[in-house]
Amino acid sequence: MNTRIRDAICRLALRTYVSAVLVFILLPLVTIAAMSFTPGEFLQFPPQGFSLRWYHELAASSQWMTALRNSLVVALGSAILATTIGGASAYALYRYDYRFGALLAGLTTVPTLLPPVILGVAFMTFFVSLGVVGQVSNLVVAHAVFVTPFPFVLISQGLDEVDRSYEEASRNLGASRLTTLRTITLPLVRANVFSGALFAFILSLNEYIIAWLVAGFAFKTIPIQIFTSLRYSYSPIIAAISVVFILATVAVMFGIDRLSGGIWE
């Protein structure tokens, strides 16, 4: 066969395939978005008409708004906590040698590799044993541990790229260790710190099973609220909140990408 034709066929097949996969990835999102604009009572695709009805109902629903507020509070708290833990761990490992350094690195990264349901059960036994049940802080702590690997890894990457001589120059100019951390090291890895925190935030925001096992009685985050609602009906309001979440997630991802100057490159 003619080589050029053969290559062209290969390339065409590949491009067709890639398009198909991209459709596969986008289809569910597009469908949900389209259905959220239905004026009717039920999920329909294609939707009959266009209406923001379900977005209004969402905004007017104290249940959903409470869940949204809960989600944001938990995600914010756990992102901050996770960033301090992951950041300190990354800084310690980057700055010093420890005989058990690998152990600390492992301890920091392993929570994401474990099935979340197991983390959830572990935290449940933990808080039950402590006798501290139903506090929002429980969920903040549980999610923080779950998402710590992300700030850890991103900040480690950032520190890895920071030349040690910047810190030495600062110390040499008379800045104390803390001043150096504050004025040199942190500003230089700021993008990584924010990216890590945002990853942690978004992951906590979207996490279900740990939240369900650890959250107190009647405390609902958005994923819990969606799961519970699915039990009773496939209301378009679920599509509406999903769209809100998708947009928020994409916005945050975009922010991370801008911050870190293209994390995929």
């Binding site: 139903g134 107190g216 009685f217 519970t228 009773y232």
Partner: protein, 376 residues
């Protein structure tokens, strides 16, 4: 088991206590000692918190129970949606153990009420504290195991009926024997897990002349063996009503077991479905108003439960939710047609689950049940 259940519980509580002590201030004074003697009046900042089932339940109860109660008594009250009863209880248990129950009153399934009783979670009352509770059907009152005190008062009752899609099945099944009828192979939607489905009770009532069989392990095994024969007919084991509703409506699973109230709502919304009170008796399940014993609002709790048990409140809720009122029929003012639609041949004709069995043989039943529905 040689050791009594209570001694296990004491042990568990003891260890929880020790750990609470270790936790120090974290527990916020995790003392879970009886606080029933003191009663606090709810305020706007610290209202009476009532948890109810989510979805339509909450909407209706907010409008026809919570709001009117607040208007009439002036007691600040707010409602919360809880998840499905099954997964709520373990959390409530841990909360009460921690001494900080997040709600004052909960609408609890009958099984949940009994589980809570085993763990000594509930506040108890004597009959004479209430005016309206005596009108509630005795079957729907749960009492403490070691005294005559009331711990749970019927909130709503609901029937699990045989339902079918009228477009697919011209001749809807009316007997539970349909579940074993190969005519319905791969057509039926059935509830899971065991303590939501009550298929053990249905099987015992349909094939074994009543429920005595369920009092022994051998009997239960026998019932499970019979139950295994419904598997070929099942097209869907569901936990989410929405799941089966969609398939029932579309005819994907043209028949099955489903709550009468849910089905009636579907029918009224124009879906081609019908709900049938079964020849052998529909299954009657019900909820209870319970109060975690750690709540400090005893006075308001009693007032609320008594208000909820008023016949006219019960009737209003029933008219809107299509659940059965829990007061005896003579106190109800529902017209015959409505009564027929939501209670069918009456509470007495129904199969009442052997709730105790599900608790005493929990692990055994769950294991058997999982083997039944999961293993192919």
């Amino acid at each position: 088991m040689g050791t009594s259940r209570r001694s296990y519980l004491t042990g568990a509580a003891g260890s929880a206590f020790a750990l609470t002590g270790l936790a120090g201030c974290l527990g916020g004074g995790g003392g879970s000692g009886s606080s029933t003697e003191t009663t606090v009046t709810p305020t706007e900042d610290d209202p009476l918190v009532v948890s109810v089932f989510g979805g339509v339940f909450k909407e209706v109860l907010d409008e026809h129970l919570i709001q009117p109660f607040r208007e009439e008594t002036g007691i600040p009250v707010e409602s919360q949606a809880q998840g499905g009863a099954a997964n709520v209880l373990p959390k409530l248990e841990s909360a009460v153990r921690g001494g900080n129950a997040p709600v004052d009153v909960a609408d609890m399934s009958a099984i949940g009420t009994l589980r809570g009783r085993h763990s000594d979670l509930w506040m108890s009352w004597s009959d004479d504290e209430f005016d309206n509770v005596p009108k509630v059907s005795d079957d729907l009152i749960t009492r403490a195991s070691d005294s005559d005190e009331i711990i749970g008062v019927g909130s709503q009752a609901w029937f699990i009926n045989l339902v079918s899609n009228t477009e697919v099945l011209a001749d809807p099944p009316t007997s539970w024997t349909a579940l074993w009828d190969s005519q319905y192979e791969s057509q039926l939607g059935l509830l899971t897990p065991a303590q939501t489905s009550f298929l053990l009770d249905i099987t015992a009532a349909t094939h074994f002349d009543g429920e005595d069989l369920l009092s022994t392990k051998d009997g239960i095994t026998q019932v499970f063996e019979k139950l295994a024969a419904v598997k070929p007919q099942s097209s869907l084991w569901y936990t989410n009503e929405a799941n089966f509703e969609a398939q029932l409506k579309s005819g994907d699973a043209p028949a099955g077991m489903l709550y009468n109230d849910v089905t009636v709502v579907m029918e009224e919304n124009g879906a081609p479905v019908t709900s049938t009170f079964v020849d052998e008796g529909s299954l009657l399940d019900s909820g209870r108003w319970v109060a975690p014993r750690t709540s400090d609002k005893r006075g308001a709790i009693v007032e609320f439960i008594d208000y909820a048990s008023r016949p006219e409140v019960q009737d209003t809720v029933s008219r809107n939710l299509y659940t059965a009122p829990t007061v005896e029929q003579q106190h109800s003012s529902l017209d015959d047609q409505t009564f027929e639609k939501i209670v069918g041949p009456g509470l007495d004709a129904a199969i009442v689950p052997n709730y105790e069995m599900y608790i005493e043989r929990e692990q055994f039943i769950n294991q058997q049940w999982n083997e039944l529905i999961i293993q192919s």
